[in-house]
Symmetry: C2
Subunit: 354 residues, 2 copies
């Protein structure tokens, strides 16, 4: 049982979960699907020994603005991080992966095995997650950069896809990374049987990843190396010089060492209010109620009252999310367009609400 | 031009304007139709000289719980009350009218002319209001208890009606006071041409009213007289012994001195959120927006954000009212049922939200 060092990434704004998700307390730091936050659930999912995997204490890589919720979440989950790094600006996942690999080498030596984990996904059951990671460990230990692929359950146009190639250990070679498809293409992907969703979950040896980054994106690697202090502090001016690139593009699409392992767990990125509502069981009227809510003669709504009492009468198929300073109301069918509200708030320079 | 002493009544909870209207700051103390509150508009409407009427400084009769908004509203309107009385418990309008008559006599002598005015109605234009009062003054000065009647504009089932009798000065004798009608009856009232809405606006000589109260409701009069201190403070235990009766039932339906004067102004009791929306001009999409609101692809809504940012996307024909601690969402066609929400909050003993 090879020990694995989880590296929890707290990036991403979760804008489509506004007004709950905010820049100083984004999506991972809210209890959306259980009594724990997505961040806490992620920490606990990647901790301890069992189901064929032994996790070491995590690395945490997060934006500077959310240091407080990160520390609070660790305390709440009872997890002590092995190291943390706080990015002064967002530079996407390739620089974050570099930080993870460097911190892991400090802890575990050159060939540290790193699991790069987004902190805002909903995954059940935990045992299947851990078994999937365990199954991929031999590939990663052998020098493959493993990306995990989610078997599609719908013709989703919002994710990138991975086309699997030849069998390889518990997984496959990667035949291609494919961009977010249009609706017809997504339908054909769903039927093909050889496509998987790319959910941004990776397992690799630190030395392998750093060597590929040195080859394909030397500017990223040098910026990260120079900016990263011994205490996890990241020099803002130097880090800002790093190109902002996702790990998929920086490395995965170019490397000869990519492998994909299909997952065996239920997965949701909890991207929108309706997707959150779908992931939960509604009451007899199909309503999903969260927080302090009074609903009368209402059907099939997602109603959330956070720090306020939300009351609704005679409404159907709505999303209503109320926080202490902002309220969002939309039909479920339009709720993904919350970005239009955010754009308007930005135009009005209402940063106090973002 | 007989001087008139206005007596502003601040009773009534305005529950149907929840969550804005609250027990410690009910409907009269919110700016609903202009930059001023209904209370301030009422004070200013009943002040100064002009349009055939000379108003003296007002008396204010209010519940103890709202002393602060009363004092704030007077200051904001720049009006100094001649006297104020704060009722420790609500006992409907007959005891309040008795307080008004007694306070007016202290100020102006036995035959003080008193205008009893609800503080939560919307009336335009002010000149027509004052002209209506001026027209009724000779009747009241001559010993009639004048109730003002609003010419109906729809088959309203929510108000009591007055059937006018024979011409009398600028008004009519009262043929009958009629209870809230059913829909068919309301339709026949509208067609009859001799029915008026009873809006709770009265003009009378203090001595006449007190004499009729002494005759018909001596318990009310004695409880009010004994409880009313020289400083306007009202003894709670004694005042509580007063029967709780509207002036209409206590006096108007029984007295031989009733007269009704039709009004010449536009009137709304701003009873519900949709009625408030109707009283205001919507924007090009038919939306009435109040406070801090962002609305995108929305039509014909009433959207109010008070101390919070209310955002709506793609919704039609809704009422959404958001305050710092509560939010109410309903179709306009159901908004009058907000009382069901209030009943549920009471059942849950959520007095903090009422």
């Amino acid at each position: 049982m090879t020990p694995i060092r989880p590296a929890i990434l707290c990036g991403g704004s979760g804008e489509r979960l506004w007004p709950l998700s905010r820049k100083d307390k984004p999506k991972p730091f809210h209890a959306l699907l259980s009594d724990r936050t997505l961040f806490e659930d992620t920490l606990l999912r990647c901790a301890g020994q069992g189901d064929g995997v032994a996790f070491k204490a995590p690395l945490v890589i997060a934006g500077e603005a959310i240091e407080t919720p990160v520390r609070d979440g660790l305390a709440s989950a009872g997890i002590t991080a092995a190291a943390m790094a706080f990015e002064p600006v967002g530079r996407n996942t390739a620089p974050a992966a570099a930080i993870a690999a460097l911190l892991a080498q400090q802890q575990d030596g050159p060939d540290a095995l790193v699991l790069l984990v987004p902190s805002d996904h909903h995954i059940t059951p935990v045992s299947k997650f851990r078994e999937t990671i365990a199954a991929a460990a031999p590939l990663a230990a052998g020098g493959k950069i493993v990306v995990f692929g989610i078997p599609p359950t719908r013709p989703e146009t919002g994710y990138g896809y991975i086309r699997q190639g030849e069998p390889l250990g518990e997984g496959f070679t990667v035949a291609a990374f494919e961009e977010k498809p249009d609706a017809a293409t997504a339908q054909s992907y769903l039927k093909s049987g050889d496509r998987l969703w790319n959910a941004g979950l990776f397992l690799f040896r630190a030395d392998v990843l750093l060597s590929e980054l040195a080859r394909f994106e030397p500017e990223i690697l040098s910026a990260v190396k120079e900016s990263l202090g011994a205490d996890g502090r990241v020099d803002a001016a130097i880090f800002a010089t790093s190109p902002s690139v996702p790990l998929d593009i920086a490395v995965m699409e170019r490397t000869a060492h990519a492998a994909v392992v299909p997952t065996r767990f239920n997965w949701s990125d909890v991207g929108t209010w309706p997707s959150l509502a779908e992931a939960l069981d509604g009451d007899a009227s199909g309503n999903v109620l969260a927080g302090d809510v009074v609903a009368i003669d209402c059907n099939n709504n997602y109603l959330r009252g956070e720090s306020v009492t939300l009351t609704a009468l005679g409404v159907d198929d709505l999303v209503v999310v109320a926080t202490g300073d902002s309220v969002f109301v939309a039909p479920k069918s339009r709720a993904h367009d919350v970005k239009k509200i955010i754009a308007e708030l930005k135009r009005k320079t209402r940063d106090d609400r973002l």
